[in-house]
């Protein structure tokens, strides 16, 4: 492997795309999760939960546009292959995202009597979008297998990813809410955590056994040794967070952000595992990142923009989160 631009650029873009997906899953994860938890919340709690994500969700969803956009512009062949294979789940995802996105705004603007309807749509859209994402992940993990086995596994992952998002949502509520709602969120987190752990274990085991190539990447000495921190650290974080749920909320609301950060770390570890499994393929066992990549000169011109703009985006995103830091209060246009 030589280190010229046509080798490096696809690698850099695979990394950038991975980063965008990870940020998306963490950020939109918590607001999708709050949508899922809507079913278990009272009317007034729902308003607080919406206030906890109101200023952020637009920007969170933009990371999905960036991730899909990078797939589209950097790996156009893969974009076509993956999305035509997942035509129906993608459609379901989009309908879910459309419904929840608009419900978010409609529920605040329609006459009071119709608010309930949009609350239900917000819940439904969030659940559908989460399930669709999980299903797509499951099918992708098995190499875009759309047979009966692949679909069954897709359904399993769908429920686990929805649970993982619910856990993220609960962790975000713990950070942004007070009183009864915060206590409730701790209980939500505990339940969702079990399902999340189950899901991660399922994906971790299914991936190597579905593909001999991936099996060989993990279960060969000494790789096994170097890779062992990934599963061990994830398991420890799960256990630690599980124990934490019995001590939260703490006096003076200390460590309220910890569950969210811990979950983000678990997501990142799981994501690193997936990345290791699939590298160098962007369409499992069919197309490598080099075969699917755009022309180097086009990638270079995107990279220039990315290097300049991405740090600025991250900077002002932090600023926006800081402006709306602290506990969520009633969300008004002021």
């Amino acid at each position: 492997m030589s280190y010229d631009w046509s080798t490096l650029l696809p690698l850099i873009f695979a990394g950038l795309m991975g980063l965008a997906i990870l940020i998306y899953v963490i950020l939109d994860g918590f607001d999708l999760g709050i949508g899922i938890l809507f079913a278990a919340a009272e009317d007034t709690e729902q308003d607080t939960m919406i206030a906890a994500i109101g200023p952020f969700w637009d920007a969170n969803e933009t990371w999905l546009v960036l991730a899909v956009g990078l797939l589209l512009v950097a790996f156009p062949l893969a974009h076509g292959l993956i999305l035509t294979a997942l035509y129906i789940p993608v459609f379901v995802l989009l309908v879910g995202l459309i419904l929840r996105g608009v419900a978010f705004d409609f529920r605040a603007k329609v006459p009071a009597g119709k608010k309930h309807r949009w609350n239900r749509i917000f819940f439904l859209g969030s659940v559908v979008a989460s399930l669709a994402q999980g299903y797509m992940l499951g099918v992708y993990v098995l190499g875009l297998d759309v047979g009966v086995g692949g679909m069954a596994f897709g359904v399993l992952v769908a429920f686990c990813l929805a649970a993982a998002y619910a856990a993220m949502g609960a962790a975000w509520v713990i950070y942004k809410a007070e009183g009864e709602l915060q206590k409730k969120a701790v209980r939500w987190l505990r339940t969702a955590l079990v399902l999340t752990a189950l899901g991660m274990a399922a994906v971790s085991l299914a991936t190597p056994f579905a593909s001999p190539r991936i099996f060989d990447k993990w279960f060969v000495w000494p790789q096994m040794l170097y890779l062992s921190p990934l599963p061990i650290l994830s398991a420890l974080l799960f256990l630690w967070l599980w124990r934490q749920t019995f001590h939260l909320p703490k006096p003076d609301d200390r460590h309220a952000l910890r569950p969210f950060l811990t979950l983000a770390a678990i997501f990142a570890l799981g994501f690193a595992g997936l990345a290791w499994s699939f590298y160098p393929f962007v369409v499992p066992d069919k197309l490598t990142i080099w075969q699917a990549a755009s022309a180097p000169e086009s990638l270079a011109i995107i990279l220039v923009g990315t290097v300049v703009v991405l740090p600025v985006i991250i900077f002002y995103s932090f600023y926006a989160y800081r402006v709306f830091g602290g506990k969520a209060t009633d969300l008004t246009y002021d």
Partner: protein
């Protein structure tokens, strides 16, 4: 049914639904900035009331634009995989720059613009409004650059059937780009000014004579009256540009079957592509030659020069006429409304009643215009480079038909809900008038005692 035509219908439905909302947010961002700056300069709280009424419309339109925009980013791959395979090297960077420079800017500062009034200083809030408005306009710039490149490609070379960039300046500022960008930005301005004027007229009809209603009404009417003649001029220039670069599109728009001088301007006809003639034609002699060549003997291209290589005539002929007709109606309505507001300081009831449905005239004209230019590019996806039929994906027609039906149902329901909320917001504002509670307006962030009143 044929997956190609179904895919086109689906993509057309999605992008038509999508464009409605950016058309509003692009210009509404600047109108909100205008309200904000007037407030900063005059300290008149009516400006801020106008701001808060319309910022809600902005938030809702923005959300509709975001979710339908997410759909677009997937549809390239699901419906047109051949598009990125052949011209991805050009389209990719333009789309990437749109996401990187515009989308994040809008999304991040929208939160501050909508909900941050008490949390940041007045200056930062104004800055957030500037950045959001700038972001929407910037995203229009990039996407228009890409669309124009598909109409009049430049600055590239083909290697093994794949387009490679040679000159990025020529790609971005391709021959039709400046005209299309100006035309679209003005269209957005007109859409928003008629929307504001129309909903304000609705408030007027409900007896609302509050300061914030007058301010919004005047802003809408005068902006429309100023923009519409500029738009007519810009549209004419855009047409001449199309005549130079895509003559077959002009031939279809004018339903002119044979190249030659003294071509009439057809006002009404049912173009019959099989017989290559117009039925029930009503026309002004030499009109098209005069408009397009500025002389009665001017030669206007005809469809006979482009056998099998020109767009369908009927939809082009009519969508163009709907756009122009709407534009002329906009001219008449906005100028008479401006006259009455300036001279009589009131609106005659019939005119106000006409202005209410005219709130959506911008949408109609914009859609008709886009149909003209996009159907006018057929049978090409990228003029002279890639045919639409060669880009369609391998998805079964039944899948496309099923999803298309659900999309259409969803879009109709969402449009009804959207328009319902607009009317609800207008009526609520009419009822509250100048007594609506005003959120605290501060020169200094947080912790300061709130409000001007």
């Amino acid at each position: 049914m044929d997956p190609l035509i179904l895919s086109r219908m689906q993509f057309g439905a999605n992008i038509s639904f999508h464009i409605l909302f950016p058309t509003i947010t692009i210009a509404l961002g600047w109108v909100l900035l205008f309200f904000k700056l007037r407030y900063n300069a005059t300290n008149d709280s009516a400006w801020m009331r106008a701001y808060f009424t319309w910022v809600k419309v902005f938030a809702l339109s923005f959300a509709m634009g975001v979710v339908s925009g997410v759909t677009m980013s997937f549809q390239f791959g699901t419906n047109w995989p051949g598009y990125m395979q052949h011209v991805g090297n050009i389209a990719g960077p333009l789309l990437a720059y749109e996401i990187l420079t515009a989308f994040f800017l809008e999304a991040a500062f929208l939160g501050i613009m909508l909900f941050g009034f008490r949390r940041v200083s007045n200056r930062v809030h104004t800055l957030a409004t500037v950045l959001v408005a700038g972001g929407t306009t910037l995203s229009a710039f990039w996407i228009i650059a890409l669309n124009s490149w598909m109409q009049t490609p430049a600055g590239f070379e083909m290697r093994d059937g794949v387009a490679h960039a040679v000159d990025w300046w020529a790609i971005v500022f391709n021959p039709s780009m400046p005209y299309r960008l100006v035309h679209m930005l003005l269209a957005s301005g007109l859409t928003v000014s008629f929307l504001i004027a129309g909903l304000s007229a609705l408030r007027y009809l409900h007896g609302d004579r509050s300061e914030s209603m007058w301010k919004a009404l005047r802003t809408g009417v005068f902006t429309a009256a100023i923009l519409i003649p500029i738009q007519i001029l810009a549209g004419d220039q855009h047409g001449l540009n199309t005549l130079e670069h895509q003559p077959q599109k002009i031939a279809a728009m004018e339903a002119n079957w044979n190249t030659g001088p003294n071509v009439p301007l057809v006002l009404f006809a049912l173009p019959d592509e099989a017989a290559k003639e117009n039925r029930f034609e009503i026309a002004i002699p030499d009109g098209a030659s005069l408009i397009l060549r500025h002389s009665t003997g001017g030669v206007v291209p005809g469809l006979n020069d482009y056998p099998g290589n020109h767009p369908p005539v009927f939809p082009l002929f009519w969508s163009f006429r709907i756009m122009v007709g709407t534009g002329l109606l906009m001219l008449a309505v906005s100028w008479s409304a401006a006259f009455f507001l300036k001279r009589r300081h009131s609106l005659p009831r019939p005119l106000a009643m006409l202005m209410v449905p005219m709130a959506l005239s911008g949408w109609l004209a914009t859609l008709a215009g886009w149909y003209t230019t996009e159907i006018g590019r057929q049978p090409w996806l990228v003029t002279g480079v890639l045919k639409t039929a060669d880009a369609v994906g391998p998805v079964a027609g039944s899948h496309v038909a099923l999803t298309l039906a659900i999309y259409l149902l969803l879009y109709v329901l969402l449009l009804i809900a959207y328009l319902g909320v607009l009317v609800h917001l207008a009526l609520k504002a009419a009822k509250d008038g100048d007594s609506s509670p005003l959120p605290g307006v501060m020169k200094i962030a947080m912790s300061q005692p709130a409000a001007e009143e």
